[in-house]
Symmetry: C2
Subunit: 188 residues, 2 copies
DNA sequence: CCGATATGGCACACGAGTGTTCCACTGGCT
DNA sequence: AGCCAGTGGAACACTCGTGTGCCATATCGG
């Protein structure tokens, strides 16, 4: 407990490196350790002191991503209410992951690898299945396709958001609108 | 004309290298020239004979992509009929680009760089504007967002297709269904 | 004040990818 | 046969990222 993972100087710089890694890798999936160290305002030596390998750094980033992912899923209350509403809520919370979304889509870290550990993937599957069963989702679509629409739309939203030219509110409203229209069961 | 770009042995191996580059770079955006040469069943020396630089190879790939892109756009007849229908047609033709889509999304090749030259970007913009004006597209959406939905859905469809687990016909039908529902103007 | 901890800079060795050069081989053509 | 374009392989030098070790410096707590 004297050297906890989040205590004092060690914890602070560790987090700084991790954050910088997410930022730098999102901007360039092949960013060198030197670039990451620079982004963290840290010497490359120090980076190696915390993460001996590039692989270990990536693993730590993946773990961090998994944590954020399951936090966002928790905030979305995936188990509550109609399936479609749960998915739309998760759109909003997942959008806050920011650069982590870029990392998942550029496959620097795999969604399955860090999401499955904490049951996130399972919760999302369940929400899709529930939505197809409770009549809120279009049954002409596969559960897998529904998830795919969610992720690709999320990526689109984050791209627009990162661009900075569209106000955050407009992005969210257009995102929710298109996803709902695309996935909702037909009126008749 | 004795040494045209597509004539005889030189043209054939050039095309083989280009195709292999698309394949290899789609699978791994950081593929080495050696890997590309292997994929083309060609010595690395030969590859350098055709494309002295890695940059030149990438430029050639981009040009090829631009050509394919504008061909697909032509087949989709972007200027004909209601805007929404034109976009749905382009979904189908663009899906045939295959690995080239992966290259565009992994930003090995930028859509703007190779698409703008041939007026493809312009034609797509026009189709979106026409759709918003003729009442086939949902006017609550931005033209930019409409294009974004098109591309991200296209990426989703190609991902499923490449996976190989879903039959081609099912992918196309789900793709067209979700895109149409997402972008179509509301019934009332 | 002093020691422990954390950090930064520097230098080194190592491997991978790249671009170049040179030479040998094969095929088709006259 | 000889010629020649096209090709493949080996060798080389160069760059860049990586991982390691060492030493000087700063900062915090006693």
């Amino acid at each position: 407990m004297t050297t906890d993972i989040a205590t004092g100087a060690r914890g602070r710089t560790r987090k700084a490196i991790l954050d910088a890694a997410v930022r730098a890798l999102a901007q360039d999936p092949a960013a060198s350790l030197g670039q990451i160290a620079d982004a963290a305002d840290v010497g490359r030596t120090t980076l190696h002191r915390y993460f001996p390998d590039r692989a270990e750094l990536l693993a730590a980033v993946a773990q961090e991503a998994g944590q954020q992912l399951s936090d966002a899923a928790g905030r979305a209350r995936l188990d509550d209410g109609p399936g479609l509403d749960a998915l739309l809520r998760s759109c909003q919370t997942l959008l806050q992951l920011g650069d982590l979304l870029t990392l998942m889509f550029s496959e620097v870290v795999s969604i399955e690898a860090c999401g499955s550990e904490l049951g996130f993937t399972q919760a999302l599957d369940d929400a899709c299945a529930r939505g197809l069963a409770d009549g809120t989702l279009d049954t002409r679509l596969t559960a897998g396709w529904v998830q795919g629409v969610l992720w690709s739309s999320l990526y689109l939203g984050w791209s627009e958001l990162r661009e900075g030219t569209t106000p955050s509110h407009d992005v969210v409203s257009q995102l929710l609108l298109t996803v709902r229209k695309a996935l909702a069961a037909p009126a008749d």
